[in-house]
């Protein structure tokens, strides 16, 4: 050891002497630091990139300023993570799965709260190791109550249930069975809706101990999954949810009553448009804008079972008037659409590389919803972003 030290000592002395002389003539060293973010702004968006085509073990959540088209930072989670924001926008939650040896070993499922300014973990809650592993990681797989006290994490074993997490006490409280129904769409302070395999909806009330107090199913299905299935995430406008189907039907559901009640369906497409093959599609084909009572749909032309095909246009509908009010042609086809909730909203569309097409990186396009005007894009997005959310 001493011999080793003796042999390297002259080297250190030489380095000190050599650099010492030079440093004296250079300007003072630059201040370095790790950046912190300001408060989340209305046009910030968060992209969940659960997988690349060659990896799905480390989900990315990308934080983007949609006004300046800058990537502000990112989070790295585990296998096929889902993510959402706390209602006060102070935390970003990730529900994750990790294996102790990467792709094998002991499984740990955990909800991690990241400080939204530092994008660093603040606290975590270990949950039962059975969370749903699904692409896309939609917003019904990790939902937060309006007061921010509880998180609902979707499980799939393949039996379905929701784990209730007490956020403040970092504790998994219990599990609510939703047999035959999947996901949690929040419809009240302690209430969520689940979509069932027969086309009905399940309305679940729960208490602060994380236990279900009531679980009521619609008397009759509001759509027919055999004939024309609906995409599982609706546009929520006030107390009404608007589901769209593979063939372009709109199914309104009233969430102000318990159990939820289906309304009269209407169509997104005219007979001529249907004949021309227009239909909704993508991983996140629908976005709502509650202040305007509007919803936005990614549309493409294709045959049956093209429900995951990217849209080439976004059609805008007024939910009350049941008619299309605008049409936005996309510079590049998009697989996901999201509209911000503020009074000067932006529409964001994420584009994925075409499978089997030329290699290209994902891109986020931005539009003014007032005029449908294209405002620009952020390109070279990391990973394979499949879900957009925001404040």
């Amino acid at each position: 050891m001493l011999r080793g030290l003796r042999s390297v000592l002259p080297v250190y002395v030489a380095i000190f002497l050599l650099t010492g002389g030079t440093l004296a003539q250079t300007p003072p060293p630059e201040g370095v630091k790790v950046r912190e973010l300001g408060p989340i702004q209305p046009h910030w968006v968060f992209l969940i990139s659960p997988a690349g085509l060659d990896s799905e073990e480390a989900t990315k959540v990308e934080v983007i300023d949609g006004d300046s088209f800058q990537l502000l930072g990112m989070l790295t989670g585990g296998l096929l993570a889902t993510s959402t924001l706390s209602p006060d926008h102070k935390f970003i939650y990730l529900a994750d799965t990790f294996y102790s040896r990467g792709s094998r070993g002991d499984r740990t499922d955990v909800v991690t709260a990241y400080d939204a300014r530092r994008l660093a973990p603040a606290h975590e809650t270990v949950i039962p190791p059975k969370r749903q592993q699904h692409i896309p990681p939609d917003s019904s797989a990790l939902a937060v109550t309006p007061d921010g006290r509880f998180l609902l994490v979707a499980n799939l074993t393949p039996a379905t249930s929701m784990t209730v997490v007490d956020v403040a006490n970092h504790k998994a409280l219990g599990e609510i069975e939703t047999s035959g129904c999947t996901g949690a769409l929040i419809s009240g302070p302690r209430r969520f809706e689940s979509l069932c395999g027969d086309g009905a909806m399940l309305t679940v009330d729960f208490d602060d101990s994380g236990k279900a107090t009531a679980s009521k199913r619609m008397a009759a299905p509001f759509f027919d999954p055999e004939k024309d299935p609906v995409f599982s995430i609706p546009a929520v406008l006030g107390k009404s949810a608007f589901f769209i189907s593979y063939h372009g039907a709109v199914h309104p559901v009233d969430w102000s009553v318990e159990p939820a009640k289906g309304g009269e369906p209407w169509s997104l497409v005219t007979d001529a448009e249907r004949k021309a093959g227009w239909r909704p599609g993508g991983y996140q084909p629908l976005a709502g804008y509650a202040p305007g009572n509007l919803f936005y749909v990614l549309m493409h032309r294709g045959g049956e079972w093209t429900h995951k095909q990217s849209g080439i246009e976004v059609w805008v509908f007024n939910a009350e008037q049941k008619r299309r009010v605008d049409k936005i042609v996309l510079p590049r086809p998009g697989s996901g659409v999201y509209v911000t909730r503020d009074r000067d909203p932006r529409m964001f569309v994420v584009s994925l590389p075409e499978l089997g097409g030329m290699p290209s990186a994902p891109m986020l396009q931005s539009f003014s919803t007032a005029s449908g005007r294209y405002l620009g894009a952020l390109d070279q997005l990391p990973g394979f972003p499949m879900w957009i959310f925001g404040p």
Partner: protein, 167 residues
């Protein structure tokens, strides 16, 4: 021993740069990727085509069994249409699709069984969505990682196994 390791690492450090080493590793990886792919892909393609006479090419996304497929084809990843690559875990569960056989014209139930426990193979990605439904029809959802019954939900690639004739 300490001295020996120190000398070796000093020599390496003096003669190379970090970028150089990364470049070398990159070349080795690229070489490893490119070399086996060039001749092997063509040969395995021929072999598979010969196997299912009239059924088409199991390494092509329009192969009849892949009508509800979503993922990397195991035939491109060290397995085949019905076999998982070495060291992976074949799931006993699967989502199912109903595909028409090109020769006998009959509808078959196909089980898309994932091979789990290793990260995405990434080759020959193929997505057809015939019969694919959202999660509320779990058994028909090709977006689920179908690794139930195995010890890891990381998906490497997907097979397409004939389960029987549609009744």
């Amino acid at each position: 021993m300490d001295l020996l390791i120190e000398r070796v690492s000093r020599t390496v450090a003096m003669r190379t740069s970090r970028r150089g080493i990364l470049g070398l590793i990159g070349k080795v990886i690229l070489g490893a990727m490119v070399l086996p792919l060039l001749p092997v892909e063509r040969i395995s393609g021929r072999a598979n085509a010969a196997e299912g006479a009239g059924e088409g090419d199991p390494l092509s996304c329009d192969y009849w069994r892949y009508c509800g497929f979503d993922g990397s084809m195991c035939g491109c990843c060290g397995g085949s249409t019905t076999e998982c690559p070495p060291g992976t875990l074949m799931s006993p569960t699967s989502w199912v699709g109903t595909c028409k056989h090109p020769v006998d014209g009959k509808d078959y139930i196909i089980g898309y069984r994932d091979c789990c426990g290793k990260d995405q193979c990434g080759r020959c990605f193929c997505q057809n969505n015939k019969g694919d439904m959202p999660l509320y029809r779990t058994q028909l959802d090709n977006g689920v990682s179908w690794c139930f019954g195995t010890s890891s939900f990381v998906v490497n690639c997907t097979t397409a196994v004939k389960l029987g004739l549609k009744s």
